[in-house]
Structures are given as C-alpha cells and as structure tokens.
C-alpha cells in the first residue's frame, strides 16, 4: 500500500538548481566558519583600553583605565575562544587562578553573562564594563580588539 506521502507528486530539482543549493550551502558554511573564528573584546563607550591590557583586566591585575573603573564580565558562550586566544589558559586554570587571586587579594572574579546578547547589554549598560562576543558588536560599544 502506498502511503499518502508517497502518492504526492515529488518535487524535482534541475541540476542547475542543485548546483545553486550546493553553492549556497558552501558559502553559508564558509561564512559561519569565518564568523566563528572572530572574537571581539568590547568595552563601554567611555572606556579607553589598550589591547595589551585585556589579559590584566580579566585576571584582576588592572582595575582602572584612566579615571574609569573597569568592570569586566565573562561571556560563557564565548569563553572557550577567549581563554584560548587571549588568556592562553584553559578553563580549569582560569578558575584556579581566580580562586587563588580572590583568596589572596580580596578581588572578585568577573560576573558571567550567558550569551553574546547579554554580554553586549551588560557592556552597554555598565560604566567601565568590558566583555567579549563572537558576533559583530552592535553600535554603542568600543571594540578594543578583534582576535
């Protein structure tokens, strides 16, 4: 017995259409890969920070940029890329570093935001706020560096 779906007229694609689909899929994959490889470190518009200072900011060694007190926040959706590209640490060492740092110096690790959108919203709303995202940042934030 033929099923209902089998009885439907099948939609056919010409070879040219198939080629278009393949080309589109390849371009999409390439663009996704390119996008995934970019990491943007962003700060609140009032922050003037050098790219060389990013590491110190996120391990609590640098708390000020001029008169502005820095308020870094981690972004868990982009943290793996950030730790690899910027901090040169794995997640375990980063956590251990902050445990020791906090215990020794009384400083607190950066709060954690879950997504790029949350991280960007935090940076936009927080004076001195800094974080990092995988997608092209929106207007209103300062891109400190792109990795």
């Amino acid at each position: 017995m033929q099923s209902a779906s089998d009885s439907r007229p099948r939609r056919t694609h010409s070879p040219r259409a198939a080629q278009r689909w393949l080309l589109g899929a390849a371009l999409a994959a390439l663009s996704l890969r390119a996008a995934a490889s970019d990491l943007y470190v962003v700060c609140n518009a009032g922050v003037n920070l050098q790219a060389a200072d990013i590491r110190d900011v996120f391990i609590g060694e640098k708390s000020f940029a001029g008169a502005a007190r820095l308020a870094p926040a981690d972004n868990s959706s982009a943290q793996a890329a950030f730790l690899e590209k910027v901090m040169k640490l794995d997640a375990r060492k980063y956590a251990t570093l902050w445990t020791k740092k906090s215990f020794r110096d009384g400083t607190n690790p950066p709060p954690v935001r879950a997504t790029d959108a949350e991280a960007l919203a935090y940076v936009l709303q927080t004076p001195g706020g800094c974080s990092y995202v995988l997608r092209v940042p929106t207007a209103g934030v300062t891109v400190v560096a792109k990795f």
């Binding site: 060694e61 640098k62 708390s63 000020f64 007190r69 375990r92 956590a95 251990t96 445990t99 020791k100 906090s102 215990f103 020794r104 110096d105 009384g106 400083t107 607190n108 709060p111 935001r113 879950a114 997504t115 790029d116 959108a117 949350e118 960007l120 919203a121 935090y122 709303q125 995202v133 997608r135 092209v136 940042p137 929106t138």
Partner: protein
C-alpha cells in the same frame, strides 16, 4: 458569358480565399484568445511575488535592525531578486509569512524581555557568595602537634569578598581550626578593608597576613591552595606551631606596578607589636598596652617574559617590639630580614625562603641574639599530580627570650617527600613522608606518614 464565368470564378476564388483565411486564422485567434488571460495572470502573479519578496525583505531588515550586533548591510537588496516568469509561484511563499511573522514577533518579544531582565540583574541582588576550604586527614604524627596520632580535622575556612562600589574592597576569612592542643576554635584570621588608590596601590586596614616571604601571603589557611600538605613548620600560624608573627593588625599598602617586562611588588606595613601569651604569639587584635609597633616591608621583582618567566626574587624585613606574659615581663626587639625566590610556572613550583633574626633584649641584660630559619621546596606539576620535596631548618638561639618564651621555639630540621593528586578541579589528596630531627630543647627524632584530603567550595 466568358466574362461572367470569369467573374464567377473570381468571386468564388475570393470567397474561398476569404473562407480559407477565415478558417486559417480562427485557431490563431482562438489561441490568442486563450493566451491573453494567462499572460495577465502570470503578470499578476509576478507582481504578487515581487510584493511578497519586498515585504519579506523589509521584515528581515526590520528584525536585523532590532537585533544588536547584526550588520544590516548584509541584507540582500530587493533589486537583486531576478524578475521574470521563472519566479516560483508566490502562494507558498506568502502563505507562511503571516504566521511566521507572528511567531517571530512573539519570540523576539520574549527574548528581548529575557535579555533585558538578565542584563539588568546585577550581583547585588544575588547575595554574597560564600567560598572556602576544608581539609581532614590521618597521620602517624599530627601535622600540627607531633605528639598526637590518628585521624585529624584540619581547617574549615570561609572567606568573603563582598563586592563594594568603586574603590573599596574587603576580605574576611573565618577559620574553624584545631589547635596544637587539639581544641577547636574559631578565628577571624583576616579582617581587612581596603581602598584601591590605583592599579599600583591599595591601602588595607585591619588584620592581615604579614607580608614577608612568599608562603605567608600566598597560601593563607586554605590547604587546597597549597600544593604541599602543610607549611614549613616555622611558618605555621601562631597557634599552630609557628614562631614568627604571621598576622599583623594595622595598616598595609601594597601594589605591583609594571616595570620593564615584569612587575615590582612592594609592601609596607605598620601594626600593633605582638605579645607572646601562653607560649603563643598573639597579634593583639584589640591593641596592646605599651603602644609599641611592628613595621616592615617586602620588595620583589616578578619576571614575566623569556626564560625567567615565573621567577620572583624578593627581600623582606620587619622590626617589632614583642613582649611576653612572663614575670617579670620580657621585651624583645625582633629584627628579622631575609630573602626569597619563587619559580612558579605551569610545570614548576619551586620556593626558597630564608630568615635571619637579629634580636635584642630590651628588658634584661642578655644582649643580642642571632638565629636563622629557612626552607627549600621543589615541586613539579605533572598530569597525574605534583610530587614535591622539601628541606627546612631552623637554628634558634634559646637564650633569646623571643624564642625561649614560645612553645614551638625549638630548633629542628626536617626532610619531606610528598605528592599532591587532584581528584578534580576542587578536591585533592596529598601524601607526605617526613623525617624530623629536633636539635636543641630535645634530641627527639621521628618519622611521619601523613595523608590529607582537601577541598575548595
């Protein structure tokens, strides 16, 4: 007649031609009549398709403009849509548009609300996180009091680092510990409130760990933080067998400005002069009766590049007037100075510290006394654990009231081999085998095997 015949033939021919023309053109006209509405319909459908595409394009652009971080320019222009009869029928495209748009709008609204709520949620309304360390163990000789054997409870150590506004900072460490006499007590080990003047300077006021050497301000009371099972004996905390004032109540300024490729770490402090009570140094958290002070400092360079990356070289000194509860009371000027070296990398944790004591009896006539203490520890961080070896030694003048009045003021030397094995990111088991020789008050010699289970939370 012929003329008539010709005319008749001509008229018939014309009629035939007209009939033929009529018959011949009828299918074409009929076909033209059929094709005319089809072209109009196609044109209409094409117009509808273009309108639908334009509507969709506008909608995508609107959504992307609302979504932060998305490049609007990446939206394809409507003109790029190829017009013509080859365009797919518009009905399947236009039909889901309304339903999908409504769903997208609803989802977008929810997402926006969630993002706003999360972004606006600060740490202030999530309370103060409580962290700490704890350790338990078993040993043939207790790590604090060698006369005790068997299972032991180490420390249950809580610390608080409240998030304060702007430049203020605070650190409180409360430790539930078992003393060398086996009694459980609670100590406010650190209670310091600070003001960060700049990245290179923070001023603390309160009770803090005296900044000398490396160990005293690196490991504090949390056993998990330390790769070795215990501190060097002479650097234990005052109520755990230590012989130097590991806590100070006073004022401390510290910082580490970048100099060259490394950093210069500096510390300067002043506080209440300690007092020896019941054989144990007390840091006089509420002040002392004579108003004498301890003051000191530490200066180090932290190498941060090249082959020496991870190396720290430093010097330290303190000068204190420390009395005791003997009758008559002794007052000693304790002058301690020394140096330290640390090589802390992904693979190595090597530490060496030495202390010289140049003390002077201010209450009697025993004069000046010289003593020394130090240790060297080598640790190697592997994937399976951290094996370490340590040698420590003290030579303390027993005619110096400062050491003579202390229960743990005897000289000794100790060799130890140990291993730290991490069970995860928050738990570690440590083993140590140590050989200890006392060298003055008694000549006791003992070997010990110790195990410790330490966690952080």
């Amino acid at each position: 007649m012929r003329r008539n015949t010709t005319a008749l033939v001509g008229s018939r021919l014309c009629a035939a031609l007209l009939l033929g023309l009529l018959i011949g053109t009828m299918p074409a006209r009929a076909l033209a009549a059929e094709r005319a509405p089809s072209v109009e319909e196609l044109q209409q459908k094409l117009d509808e398709s273009i309108k639908a595409i334009q509507a969709l394009t506008e909608r995508v652009r609107e959504l992307e403009s609302r979504q932060p971080g998305t490049a609007v320019a990446s939206t394809p222009a409507p003109a790029a849509t190829p017009p013509g009869p080859a365009v797919a029928p518009p009905a399947p495209v236009a039909a889901p548009n309304t339903a999908d748009t409504a769903r997208i709008e609803a989802l977008e609204l929810q997402l926006g609300q969630l993002e706003s709520a999360n972004a606006g949620r600060g740490s202030a309304d999530t309370g103060l996180p409580l962290h700490g360390f704890a350790d338990v163990g078993v040993a043939t000789h207790n790590p604090i009091n060698a006369d005790l054997k068997g299972f032991n409870v180490g420390n249950l150590d809580f610390y608080l680092t409240p998030r304060l506004s702007d430049r203020s900072r605070a650190l409180f460490e409360m430790n539930t510990e078992v003393s060398s006499k086996g009694q459980v007590g609670v100590d406010l080990e650190r209670a310091q409130i600070g003001y960060q003047l700049a990245d290179q300077a923070t001023v603390w006021l309160g009770r803090f760990h005296t900044p000398f050497g490396y160990v005293n301000t690196a490991f504090h009371h949390g056993a998990w933080v330390n790769d070795s099972l215990r501190r060097p004996g002479f650097l234990n905390f005052e109520d755990s067998g230590g012989i130097v004032p590991t806590h100070t109540v006073g004022l401390w300024i510290t910082g580490a400005p970048r100099v060259g490729t490394g950093k210069v770490q500096y510390d300067a402090y002043v506080g209440n002069g300690q007092q020896i009570q019941g054989g144990i140094i007390d840091m006089r958290s509420a002040g002392n009766t004579h108003g004498d002070l301890i003051f000191g400092g530490r200066l180090a360079y932290l190498f941060n590049s090249g082959a020496t990356e991870g190396l720290t070289l430093g010097v330290h000194a303190f000068d204190a007037r420390i009395d005791d509860d003997a009758l008559p009371e002794h007052l000693t000027r304790v002058l301690s100075y020394g140096g330290y070296a640390v090589y802390d990398t992904d693979q190595w944790e090597n530490i060496a510290e030495f202390y010289l004591f140049d003390d002077e009896d201010l209450s009697g006539s025993s004069g000046s006394h010289r003593s020394h203490a130090g240790f060297v520890q080598l640790g190697y961080r592997t994937a399976w654990g951290v094996p370490y070896a340590r040698y420590e030694s003290t030579s303390l003048d027993q005619t110096d009231n400062f050491f003579a009045a202390q229960t743990s003021g005897a000289s000794y030397h100790r060799s130890a081999l140990g291993l730290r094995y991490d069970l995860g990111s928050d738990a570690a088991v440590k083993l140590e085998f140590a050989d200890t020789q006392l060298t003055d008050r008694s000549r006791e010699h003992y070997s010990a095997g110790l195990m410790q289970y330490a966690i952080r939370f």
